[in-house]
Symmetry: C2
Subunit: 214 residues, 2 copies
């Protein structure tokens, strides 16, 4: 085990979180390709990639006692720790939610999950979720409070798309109950994914400003 | 601010988590009453009670820097902190999921969400979820590894009930797509609630044994 300086250790921790964020973003992007292009191999890549996020989360968590125990931490270090743990947890969960989307694709393949009339709303939802994930990655790097606040708008877009999707499903949906349930759950996974991304940004803002409102 | 001993501070932290666990358990019990008895006031109680869980989580998190900064923490203390944060997060989320169930009830009231044929499976699901929550409260108090391992069985029961529910919904469900979606989502909320309760138990086991497998 190296005898790195405290700052080097914190940099490494932040680096792991940044990698996790990029991976969580790639996961939802690939899952959305799987969903909208009925692409089985994309879905399988999402499943295969998830172990990396799980491992990185464990790595981030394992670093923390190590970082703190060798140093006399001050309150702001400990706040960093609380935030880092929440961020790692949220990013791992984002990966899980991308996996849930991919699993629905695999379960129905070669039949597609998204019938023609639902393509626009799912495309909008996937687009907004991916944008949020990308911005989250940026926020983690820049720690810019204004970047973080923008995420709320994209999150509203995901919620609005989920509302549109649900009303479409309950008014004269000709593709059957199974299809409606699949889509309602897929919409829910995107919604939760976006919520978690906003959580990440919120933690970053908390880290920077000491207050948690976005 | 008091100058309590380290042990007293840890006891207070554990006490907050125990209270959260009892509240999260009460929330799913009340939400299940709301769902199965079409009881509007029960649903409203779940919504009203959720702020307490949110506040307790914030309280638990706020304690942690305070506990650590005054002391030279050792590795096991820091492990406790990582666990306490995850436990507080999971318990707050359990409360949120009970709120989601209650909101579906309120949205459809005075119409019931659970048509007659789905009553047994939802009753089983609610019963298993409530049992898990109660056992989680016990595990938090006893830190008994065997108690914690039992939770896996109840969790399997929730998952199996969700499977039964979904197959019921997709094979000749005469109550319409909206009802099917409501129930699929309600089932999902119970499933996630149970997952989070198992997470709590897993953290407790990790705290006691240093390994995380259940």
């Amino acid at each position: 085990m190296g005898r790195d300086s405290y700052d080097e250790q914190l940099d490494r921790l932040t680096g792991v979180l940044a990698t996790m964020s990029r991976d969580a973003s790639a996961a939802i992007r690939t899952a959305s390709t799987a969903l909208l292009d009925v692409d089985r191999s994309a879905a399988e890549r999402v499943l295969a990639g998830d172990a990396v996020l799980d491992r990185l989360r464990a790595e981030a968590e394992a670093m923390i006692p190590e970082v703190l125990v060798r140093h006399q931490p001050v309150a702001s270090d400990l706040r960093l720790v609380v935030c880092a743990l929440r961020i790692a947890g949220a990013l791992e969960r984002m990966g899980d939610l991308a996996v849930h989307v991919a699993k629905v694709v695999l379960m129905r393949h070669p039949v597609g999950v998204v019938p023609e009339p639902a393509v626009p709303v799912l495309t909008a939802m996937a687009g907004a979720a991916t944008r949020i994930a990308d911005k989250t990655t940026v926020v983690l790097a820049t720690r810019d409070r204004l970047d973080a606040m923008q995420l709320g708008l994209d999150d509203d877009e995901v919620d609005a798309a989920q509302e549109r999707l649900l009303s479409m499903l309950v008014t004269d949906w000709p593709y059957g109950v199974e299809s409606a349930i699949d889509l309602a759950l897929v919409g829910r996974y995107y919604e939760r994914y976006a919520d978690q991304a906003v959580n990440v940004a919120r933690q970053v803002v908390y880290l920077v400003t000491g207050t948690i409102r976005l």
